[in-house]
Symmetry: C2
Subunit: 190 residues, 2 copies
């Protein structure tokens, strides 16, 4: 499907509300549960999304518009959330993500981008030349993959409890070696 800015924005603006409904007021044990050693909890994923709003997606849109290929994007620190105050409740992180996303989408809208801007290019520090359209599409896909990850992390907490149904629940049988594994099913490198 061809990326349309109106549709991409429609999905991006839903993500914080979807995550709030999935995670707010869940018992702490659920929010902090992982898929095993060196994998991320729902708490970690929301922290990662916050960092993406602050340092990644919209700043890179601006880099393309201002510098094109003359300056490379800043590398994204995918472990930044582990250096934040981790005593904050998930509800505060969810609210912060929602605020940042709203602000970023308002800023994006004020840039009045059109399809004519989509082929504009910038330099990703690892991927090389990328277009504005690819960046905006990746912002959307990144959200969706993390919603998918959060559902999977929660599902796995009952992996033993489902007994013989486990054979029917393919998601429980996906093993994640480590959260940073590019070959795994998670996107962690925006």
């Amino acid at each position: 499907m061809e990326m349309k800015l109106s549709e991409a924005t429609q999905i991006l603006e839903r993500t914080p509300v979807v995550l709030i409904h999935m995670l707010r007021d869940l018992p702490e044990e659920w929010v902090r549960a992982t898929e095993g050693d060196n994998t991320w909890s729902c708490y970690d994923v929301v922290g990662h999304l916050i960092h993406g709003e602050v340092t990644d997606w919209l700043p890179r849109v601006r880099m393309i518009l201002e510098y094109g290929e003359s300056r490379s994007f800043e590398p994204f620190d995918r472990l930044a959330q582990f250096r934040e105050d981790r005593t904050q409740p998930i509800e505060r992180l969810l609210d912060r993500f929602k605020e940042l996303r709203e602000r970023n989408l308002a800023a994006l809208s004020s840039l009045r981008l059109g399809a004519a801007d989509f082929p504009r290019t910038g330099i990703h520090p690892a991927l090389g030349t990328v277009t504005l359209k690819q960046l905006l599409s990746s912002w959307v896909v990144h959200d969706l993959t993390h919603i998918s990850q959060i559902s999977r992390v929660l599902a796995k907490q009952y992996a033993a409890e489902v007994g013989p149904w486990k054979a029917y629940m393919g998601i429980l049988n996906i093993s994640i070696d480590r959260s940073g594994d590019r070959s795994g099913v998670d996107p962690v490198m925006p």
Copy 2:
């Protein structure tokens, strides 16, 4: 994690609202998009969840309580949603799923089940002896896996649009042979 009825219920009651926020008012093209031939769209998944409410989860709880192992559960028809009126808008399906889930959780609550009931058993037509606890846990995991699936189906619509970022988005590289494949990443056989 050990299944607690209060926590299981808390997750089950969120699912319709989460799906409403993900899917309501999305363009029809997105709602009906699949991962390829013989895979399910978001529309199909919501139809499947509706059939689970009507014919599967709560009816099986009642079967265990009433008949124990003396009668086998009815097999679940995982393709039933394809025989429904498929011209209904997704919003109507989402509302129907929400109503059914609310009604089923109210009925579940009125059964006043406790941990002492969890080891009670019934007969699954394919899996054999299963416990009430396994059934209730599977209801939760089934919801979560379908939320994960819906996110993945949506993400894949931009698989080409993300360009080189595809290498970082593991979810885009999961191939689903067909929606009924038990070895795949989707649960389709409750």
